[in-house]
């Protein structure tokens, strides 16, 4: 008697339910559980702990195979990051956190208030700039976002800033004119600094359901996303939709938001993320 509980049908159903509850998706959850069950039977490792670990390994594997990386930054140029995503996911707040994170490493950061549309968007970013020690390049409400971006990159080059972080307006991926606006911003950036924006981070709310995959597809197409940030993981949602995004689009999660303050921010750890899902 090994003292290891054998996995039961009920256990497998419960594990599958945990995956679905984490927004992994019904079909993906079924596939993973089926594959793990078969492998466990073949290896004769059918105790619950091993099966649970095997599911975690599957998920970690998917996340680690997402190998998209930022673009190369030419020597002496600022690294340009652009945050994009649908409305309300936490882009502006995350820029405050990124600024804190880089400043703590002794880097200089310049911010670009390219959300010229939403009420008080510039004021919100300016407050974060003050809080974390970064200047904010901005223009009047209604200005062309690409014009603000141009100003910011020119300023960053002149000041030899280490980083430029660009805030963009929230936008639904179904609005083609708004997605084209992003494409135009990318082209503008690339003209001024080779390879810019070097990192385009899609900011996803951890509570997002299956629509998150469609969001990622559309933003990847319009803005050439290089990675994801998952916010609001301090809630009860688990952000499992990033598994499908990793698998289909090869996009890795780079950072995670865990609250509303400047230091509620960590680099992504696949194993830890997955353990919270499989529980």
């Amino acid at each position: 008697f090994k003292g290891r509980a054998e996995v039961s049908e009920a256990d497998l159903k419960q594990l599958e339910a945990a995956l679905i509850g984490a927004d992994i998706g019904a079909r993906t959850a079924a596939e993973i559980v089926a594959r793990v069950r078969q492998a466990a039977e073949e290896r004769r490792e059918t105790d619950l702990a091993s099966v649970r670990r095997a599911i975690e390994d599957e998920l970690v594997g998917i996340l680690e195979r997402a190998t998209r990386r930022p673009r190369q930054v030419p020597d002496g140029e600022p690294l340009v990051l652009m945050l994009v995503g649908v409305n309300g996911t936490g882009k502006t707040t995350t820029i405050g956190k990124l600024t804190q994170y880089y400043r703590a490493q002794g880097r200089t950061v310049l911010l670009c208030a390219a959300d010229t549309f939403r009420a008080a968007a510039t004021e919100q970013l300016q407050a974060w700039g003050q809080r974390t020690g970064a200047e904010v390049i901005h223009q009047k409400p209604g200005a062309d976002p690409s014009a603000v971006l141009y100003d910011a990159l020119a300023a960053a080059k002149a000041r030899k800033s280490d980083f430029v972080i660009v805030d963009t307006a929230g936008r639904l991926h179904t609005k083609s004119n708004l997605m084209q606006e992003l494409a135009k911003m990318r082209r503008t950036a690339g003209r001024l600094i080779p390879g810019a924006p070097h990192e385009v981070l899609l900011v996803l709310d951890a509570t997002t359901g299956q629509n998150g995959l469609q969001q990622a597809r559309q933003f990847a197409q319009a803005a050439d996303v290089t990675g994801l940030i998952v916010t609001k993981l301090d809630g009860t949602a688990r952000g499992g939709i990033v598994i499908a995004i990793a698998r289909e689009l090869g996009l890795p999660v780079r950072y995670v938001g865990t609250g509303e303050q400047a230091d509620d921010f960590v680099p992504f750890e696949p194993r830890r993320f997955v353990e919270a899902i499989v529980g």
Partner: protein, 304 residues
């Protein structure tokens, strides 16, 4: 579409003329997957599928419909039944002592501030004189955001700048409650019959902030508490909605950002787990982007 998938299920069962135990299993599995993919919560999907199984089994074949179409009809009726009637879009702005108070609640980023302004525009159109106030003293530039939107409606805003300035660095529940009560007094003074209170986004598991919400409710005795939720929320919808309802007994739901292409299964989850009506949907970022909720439209989206 789900209809196509069900047609294929029935075809593969070689010309079945009626709904039986045998052809039901595969059909119900397709329905289960479709509802989960549309972000309906697991527990709700289970209940719906169980109901459909009972209603569908042994049904007399309807002359005009194929078995697949018949099941779809049963499913449609079931979803419409869960989502409930159209008595939904009345905002309770009657009050024995004016102003009537509408309190906005919800998770971070769901659309409360924007919806507060949209609601003011909505009520103005219907002959009311709404005043807006933001008691979000936490999020940078939150009160500025509502102030700008109030100008656009246009509707009077209680800014409470002195109250916030006096609080200094001690921005918390005390000044939140002071602001809310001062706004109500100002609404009476200004002849406004409705006060819309925008609140900070908060997690349902954040005890101090949920306690603040309960205290706001107690202080204001709102006739309407609207839970503002993002239509693209997935399985978590049941957890946040249930907890907000448990603590606040909210009276209605606004589902925002339905101008996207999310299937909107959260509508079913939230309605089913709280029993509260979805009163409005948000359909754009503009002030006129607030519409009455129609169950058949969201059912159409969920069934995709």
């Amino acid at each position: 579409t789900l209809t196509d998938r069900l047609q294929r299920v029935f075809k593969s069962l070689r010309g079945e003329a009626r709904l039986t135990e045998a052809n039901m299993a595969e059909t119900l599995e397709e329905i289960r997957l479709a509802l989960l993919e549309a972000d309906v919560a697991q527990s709700i999907v289970e209940a719906v599928v169980a109901d459909i199984r009972v209603k569908a089994l042994g049904q007399e074949v309807m002359a005009a419909l194929s078995p697949a179409e018949q099941v779809i009809k049963i499913l449609r009726d079931e979803l419409l039944d869960v989502l409930g009637g159209g008595e939904a879009a009345r905002v309770n702005v009657k009050s024995s002592a004016p102003p009537a108070v509408v309190l906005m609640a919800g998770l971070q980023g769901s659309g409360k501030t924007t919806t507060s302004a949209k609601l003011a525009a909505w009520l103005k159109k219907r002959g009311h004189r709404p005043m807006l106030v933001s008691v979000d003293v936490y999020r940078p530039a939150a009160r500025e955001q509502l102030a700008l939107l109030a100008e656009q409606v246009p509707a009077p805003l209680f800014a409470g700048a002195e109250l916030v300035a006096q609080a200094g660095a001690a921005l918390g529940t005390a000044v939140v409650l002071d602001l809310a009560k001062a706004a109500r007094r100002d609404a009476v003074r200004s002849g406004c019959d409705v006060l819309i209170v925008d609140t900070a986004g908060r997690l349902h598991i954040d005890e101090p902030l949920m306690a603040e919400m309960r205290q706001l409710k107690q202080a204001l005795a709102p006739g309407e508490i609207l839970f503002v939720a993002d239509a693209m929320v997935g399985q978590d919808a049941v957890h946040s909605a249930a907890e907000f309802h448990r603590q606040l007994s909210f009276t209605g739901v606004v589902l925002t950002k339905l101008d996207g292409d999310t299937r909107g299964g959260a509508a079913l989850s939230i309605r089913r787990v709280t029993g509260q009506p979805i009163k409005f949907i948000g359909t754009s970022e503009r002030l006129d982007g607030l519409e009455v909720f129609h169950p058949d439209r969201i059912v159409g989206r969920i069934l995709g």
